[in-house]
Symmetry: C2
Subunit: 502 residues, 2 copies
């Protein structure tokens, strides 16, 4: 059995090496690659993905898994090897149930769909992408139908990034959340807007980058095992335990863009950096779900990075770096500015409170498309109607509406949006537990010390990688199931106080 | 047949994609990778190399080649497909004749040997690496003996980087060259040294980089398909037709380091950039040999970049960039300084004339080791004796002697040094032909125009990639065989004039 397990691990190591090589190529493509490299890079990424997939779905892996199952069952439930075998079993079944011809068709199609979107958006022409989106919907349904035991057709798609989460559960949670958020946003936006004009003064690039990295390093981002580079669309990527990178972008006339992007990606990176090194090169050495991953980026970006305590420590330093912009701005005024809530059309520009409304609109519309209760041709109208009801806004055109971001045009429909709001919900859920264990955390943050919080997160979440699912991590840390109560407490507590709402 | 050819090409494309992916990972390792990434990167590179090798030596490739041989023979001799099939046939035979266990042993051993060298050099302790070098020698002989038809045991090793070149031919050429070079170096170094002290003033990094890239771009380095980054040991690397990169290093107190390194690597890059795009992703899309590749780096670095004409154009610009260092230095004085010839111990610091003496010492000693006429334990003594006879110098220790660079300690013995001097020889041989076709080239260089020269090289050398061997390229351009006459004419012409030697 030990030999078979080692054989399985050796295959997994090679698959992981190939996937990590692809991650390096993708990182390079997004940071340094000259324009001329695009075609070649596409070929290289496609070959790496094909070769890694072929290695993983090889019947030899299935045979090893069959042989090893009794051994896994004989081990304690939380044994690393038992967990590995079970996670690989689930991955293998999912990977082998979708025919590779269907996957190839999907990849080819979404590449074409992405190209169509890059032309349709500047032309404000939804009709240009409509046929692509219809085909994407058809392919998404075909993929879901490879798993015919589902409760809801979106479940298998959600399961790809948030394993074990169900449409029905998420729908209920999101509905409860919306019921609270819509009136909160209304109450806030009925009040006079705080001034944030000083955030749009000139903030030189290098000073922004230096300040952001300094904070990320104090959080616990390990520059021996990571670095930050510039890109158009910030992301975090792992090349294995010893090399985990973040990217950011800088707008010299918008202070809050680069900094909070750095803190966000640093949160993702610290999660990956905290995974136990023994799990490296196996499928356990990943974040366990899109939601849990996002919970850590949002925790470090928002709960910590936009907290009053954080800026008690950092604001005097920030004023020293940008005296001409901030010397006449008080800490309180700065804190209000970076937490300003406003109804807006663009998800990626949204604040902490309204962000979820954007996400939930897309989630609901995705589900309706998959169910067939909404047709692609009616999507722009449904979009506008939901923005009107949830945010009281109407996009002047599809550029700022249904065409605004690339998600629906570059991958399957369903399964990619819920992670953002699940992440927000879980960020408070986990943070509440950390506070229960260590009530001193806010006072430490006010001193620029993050070790206690980071240590709790590493101990309870990060180290495990994919060993436990999101629901298991929630159960282990809270004793219960996913709930929005801590998140609502956080939002009400922070924003009612900030806006003086009783 | 067309189908089989396409099947073969599809395999070659995938092998190439995997090799290019490895090249990206190697580039990243040498430029941006954080220290913590070393172990993971080693695993990834090892897996990529293994998977690419397995794909290439697959019996399916051998079968396709067998089936396609009659087709190749039926095509015109210079048909792309015929050439591709024949090159792949040769590569395949070479790759399959060396057992993969032997290759694995070699890779494992040289990694350990490299580690030993990094410790032995600072300790000036040849005995620490002696056993490693003995094993490397044994493994090198084993590899050579996989090709028992050789005339000389070094031939199969030389063939790995300079296909078709033979030990006997190179030996004769090098012996003839040494006969001329030793007295030339002596005559020059008997004269008073030109002053080059101004090259060691403070030259700020960014200005050096900008100046070097500007010249490289005027040469014809295409930044749409390439870029330059910093590294410890400069190199050129290709990720395919659209993405070819160079690296350099900067010493702020030594002006000639970064600039000539940039021009050198730009020469390598322009070669790769000039290969016909139709050959991309196949084994034909490479430089044809180490010698021809080096001929292009040395041509653009030395024949052009250290020419009087080049500096007629660039020196006034350089004075504008570094006025405090150069305003009181005349063009003639600058030209003499960057072409100063001196006997030195370190190959990588050597000038155009003495460089070959360093290379030929290593080549001859490698051959003697392989033949068994020199034992590893006697290498330091043989080294010192040759430096005494050829350069009139004695290294004070092995650090600046036999331990000075990593070549013998990081790969097979034999087959890696001849390319440098073959490159120098061929650089003049090809340049002479370009001049014959276009006598206006020097006058154009004096105007900062390189299009005619670049065009001739692209037409006669670059576009073909590996379609023709080095010997074939020489035959096609000169009508004859490799000869040192043009190189001797170049060296005597340039340096006798420069040093006023009759």
């Amino acid at each position: 059995m030990k030999n078979k397990l080692q054989n399985l691990k050796n295959i997994l190591y090679e698959v992981d090496d190939l996937q990590k090589a692809a991650a390096v190529l993708y990182w390079d493509q997004s940071t340094y690659m000259p324009a001329g490299g695009a075609v070649g890079r596409g070929n290289q990424l496609s070959t790496l993905s094909k070769v890694a997939h072929e290695k993983f779905v090889d019947t030899a892996v299935g045979k090893l898994l069959d042989d090893l199952q009794p051994y896994a069952d004989s081990l304690p439930d939380d044994d690393d090897d038992a967990r590995l075998i079970n996670v690989v079993r689930r991955d293998y079944d999912k990977a082998t149930k979708v025919p590779s011809t269907l996957l190839a068709e999907l990849y080819g199609h979404v590449a074409a769909s992405y190209q169509a979107w890059t032309k349709a958006r500047p032309s404000n022409d939804f009709e240009m992408v409509r046929p692509y989106l219809e085909k994407t919907l058809d392919l998404s349904r075909q993929i879901a139908n490879c798993f015919p035991d589902y409760d809801h057709i979106a479940d298998p798609l959600i399961d790809r990034s948030d394993e074990g989460m169900k449409t029905a559960v998420i729908r209920q949670i999101f509905s409860d959340l919306r019921t609270e958020l819509v009136p909160l946003v209304q109450a806030i936006t009925d009040l006079p807007e705080p001034d944030n004009s000083f955030l749009f003064k000139h903030y030189p690039e290098q000073k922004q980058l230096d300040f952001g990295m300094k904070a990320a390093i104090q959080y616990g981002f390990d520059t021996h095992r990571g670095r930050q580079d510039k890109t158009h669309h910030p992301f975090m990527t792992s090349f294995g335990h010893g090399d985990i990178r973040i990217t950011t972008r800088v707008n010299e006339h918008r202070f809050d863009d680069a900094l909070f992007s750095t803190l966000h990606e640093a949160g993702h990176a610290m999660y990956e950096m905290g995974i136990r090194p023994e799990l490296d090169r196996t499928p356990l050495a990943n974040g366990t779900s899109s939601g849990v991953h996002e919970s850590q980026s949002r925790l470090w970006e928002n709960i910590v990075g936009r907290s009053y305590e954080f800026w008690q420590h950092y604001y005097p330093q920030l004023q020293t770096v940008f005296p001409e912009n901030l010397n006449d701005v008080s800490l309180d005024a700065f804190y209000r500015a970076i937490n300003k809530v406003s109804k807006s059309l663009i998800r990626t520009d949204a604040d902490e409170v309204t962000y979820n409304l954007h996400v939930m609109i897309r989630f609901d519309l995705s589900i309706q498309l998959l169910e067939g209760t909404l047709e692609v041709k009616d999507l722009p109208e449904a979009w506008n109607s939901r923005y009107q009801s949830d945010l009281g806004l109407q996009a002047p055109n599809d550029v700022d509406g249904v065409l605004q971001d690339v998600h629906w045009y570059s991958g399957v429909i369903g399964g990619s949006f819920q992670g953002y709001t699940l992440g927000n919900i879980m960020s408070s859920l986990f943070y509440e537990q950390a506070l229960k264990a260590h009530p001193s955390i806010p006072a430490e943050i006010a001193q620029g010390e993050f070790g206690t919080l980071h240590g709790w997160l590493r101990e309870n979440l990060y180290q495990h990688g994919r060993k436990y699912t999101a629901n298991e991590l929630i159960k282990r840390t809270t004793g219960g199931d996913l709930t929005i109560t801590p998140y609502l407490n956080y939002l009400h507590g922070k924003f009612r106080k900030l806006y003086n709402i009783s």
